[in-house]
Amino acid sequence: MSLPGLSSSAVNTSQANETVDIGARAEWRIEVDLKDTVTVKVTKGIVEVFGTELAIDVEYKFTGQKIAFYSHEGGQLEYSGPLVSEYVSEETQMSAYLNFHFALCKMREQDVRGPRVLILGPKDCGKTSLAKILASYASRMDYEPMIVNLNPSDPVFSIPGTLTGTPVSDILDVEDGWGQTYTTGVAPLHPKQPTVRYYGSPDIHENLKFYKHNVSRLGVTVCSRVSEDSTMKKSGVIVDTPPLTIKDVEIIEDVISDFEINVMVVIGNERLFIDLKKKFQAKLNVVKLPKSGGCVERDDSFTRQVQQRSIREYFYGTPKTVLSPYTVYVDFDVVKVYKPFVDAGGLISSVLPIGEDGLDNEEKKPDPLLQSLEPSSSSLQHCVLAILQADKKSDEDIILRSSVLGFGVVTDVDDTKSKLRILIPVPGRLPDRAMLLGSFRYTE
């Protein structure tokens, strides 16, 4: 099937189709390198990827993913292409996740206000996978939950550094991880419509105050969207988080109130579960779920490559939906760039445990959340800029409230002519909006 020479680099290249039998309640776990593409086709049975059922005899292509194909009652598939690893495991936690989903459904059927789930757990324990599984299962039963991503390192329907809320109105795209948004235009599967806020760093502790600000603003938008829509109100909200520990209880408390959480699920960490249960069981349901054996540690370079890929896809699209971005040239004085405010104390507080120090600083004088930035090649070269909804002449509090209109990348800075070359996704002039600089860079 695959073209000769296209994927010849890998050692274990397999040109012929291999057949895999998946037993009942088993899953086939594979790792595909970022530079390779694997084609998978289900030939028999109901096989799902993170809760989304695959069509029969349709080729799915995967690149740079670590995923599992689960079958509840057994199935068979064929694949071709190089895999870093592949094995069938019969020890899955999918039954537990299914049961959790059904328990959430019961809540949906019993009350007009459905479950608002907060998923917590250590790094690489399958939080995002669970979020995706729950969203897919809900979608398969015609619910429309809102998926909220509070992990800026792991982009969901957007680029890294963002916090998003997205109604899962239809089937998710297994090949893309989540799928396309309405901003893409024509896409092979139903696109989704996210609301996007830009925090700008993969690490929430780098500027906790600005992170919390964005979480609570996102909470306002998400809650008002949910309350306006009876289907979504019933379907509820699923909140995915960065790896938080009991030390971050302050953030957890904020998230609980910002998103009106009523179910908290802790994956694979008994200690965290007990601690959180003690603290929160009076207010909400605290549930423990086992960690899937399929979870693999992602090293930093893999994470970074995935982040870079999602920025590239934002501008250029995927092989299925190719997009063409535009380049604009603007003078320095046309743009208004802000960056999250970090003072000298901020640097220290990011190193120290959260709590005392940060509070002391706040009491002295309320620091602003943003600071203005003078364009220069040293400050902007190759930087990702969030173009906000707010006009560039707006007051700071309006800019702070503003969500994201889109993103741009500064591809070149000419200090002598005071000119910027910016890559933007939409044809036309650069919108006259305020822009927010984070720590992400992108080079083509």
Binding site: I46, E53, L54, A55, I56, V58, H72, S95, A96, L98, N99, F100, F102, A103, L104, C105, K106, E109, Y137, R140, E144, D170, I171, T183, T184, G185, V186, A187, Q193, P194, T195, V196, T221, E228, S230, K233, N285, V287, L289, T321, V322, L323, S324, P325, Y326, Q389, D391, K393, S394, S402, S403, L405, G406, P425, V426, P427, G428, R429, L430, P431
Partner: protein, 571 residues
Amino acid sequence: MSVDEKALEALGDDFYVAISDLTNNSRPMITSFTLLAQENIDAAEYLTRAVEKRIEKAVPHQKLYALYLLDSICKNVGSPYTLLFAQKIYQTYTQAYLLVDDQTRKKFIDLFKTWKNAKTSSGLPLFPDEPMAKIEQFLVRATAIHQQSSAKVNVAMLLQTIDKLLYLTNQRLLRSPNDQSIPAKIGIIKQLKFALQNDRSMTQDALVGVKRQLDEMTTAEENSLRSTPPIKSPPLSNPQPNLQNIFNSIQNPTATSLQTQDTGYNNVEDKTKNLTLLNSMINLKGSAIRTPTPTQTQQPVVKKNNLTSLLSSLEKQGLVKKKTPSPHEVPSTSLLNSILQKTKIASSNRLNTVHKSPLEEELEKFDINAKFVSLDPTSTYTALFVSRKTHKCGTCGKRFGDSQQEQAKSRDHLDWHFRINKKLKEGAIVQSRNWYLDDEQFVQFRDEDMFGSGEQEDKTTTEKNNAGSKERHYVVVPSDSEMSCLCGVCKEVLKARYDDDLGEWIWDDAVKKNGRIFHYSCYSETNTSSSLASIVGAKRTRDLSSLDFDMIRNVMKNVKLDDRSKVNTKG
């Protein structure tokens, strides 16, 4: 009354007719009525009245569903419905409450509890405090009275129960005339009755015990009666002597009338329906008999201390299962141990099966508070993911159900795939990404507005832009012009064609601006970006959002309309 108001009133009447179909607890129906209420907020006053009228007029066991509708509208739509319902909520609720049975009353109370905690989207209580407090007082009083009455058991009540049991057992005898155990059982029940009538010295505890056992047996009889099909022979021939016999034996002055009434009903449903009526009649007779009569010569005289033994023999009879032709024979009376509780559970279960949707039943065992993790989800998986959705889309694997609504969805879905795939294969469009929505647009955004079926689109008339983008775009070829020209954007040739309806030569799907001809799609695409630029350049700070939104919408619609027209012309 203005024309508008008449229209609204008519809408209210229509709504009343529609919600009269709410004869079972149908969540989809309640949801769609709620949506209707939401869409016709202008007619809120009339719709409110329609719902109130329905609650008032519905037969008692259907009142609850209408009340659920009221609840759904208030919780999901909120103002102005909450305010309108609040005016009469006390009357609506209490009047209905008084007319429904105990099980339904429980549901009423459960519902009221949710009202106390519910908040509208603005954070206010669902209903004002004053009627809520009144209803609460009412419920406190009503439940207190109820508890009192059920706590005290007297001989009159027992006799009433026995009469009911007798009636039911006789019914069963009619169904299974060959069952030898039944006449024996009837004999014992009669003895029991006689004993009770003549014995006034039983303690309250003993009476309660007897009543429990009787209640249990009554329930068992009722169940067995329901599950046993009636015999085919005309009921008149066989049962008459039996009935005669029974009623004579208890010296019933109204026996004849009862008997004729009884034979009038041939099916089980009717019989159970009229049970209450019969019961009340039997009751009358019972109370007449209770005054000691010296004429009961046929009955063996039973002494007080024999009562217990009688009951036990009765139990034995119940336990005897042989010779029963039907597999649905009276359940064993071993239940007698925990009678009251079990009756309660049994009756509430029966009620639940009536009120719960199949989905809820399927989900019953998954409780977030219990140990759900180790349950076996297989049957539920199959039921909800596979059996409920039998049609699988060959392109993406999404599943659809069998109902008409689902089939329509499935067709729309396939259409959508077809259009999109065609578009993607043609590769004609070079797309660029669009902007994200701002918060306000995001909150108002509904997916079905973008990609729903045709009907759904028509519904969303709120967007003024829809009408504009749905118009056909064409340019009439000027008489002094060539038949073909170049699009100002893509430089492709536009060829004129003759349109029969218009009687003119036209360039279809085109617009004329500043003397130049453009493909409509080319024009609107470039227009989108250029107008964005001009807007962005303008000094205005507000109102940007809605314009952007309309533009995105426009582009989406064009893609869609474009596709549709191609699909149509192809066929």
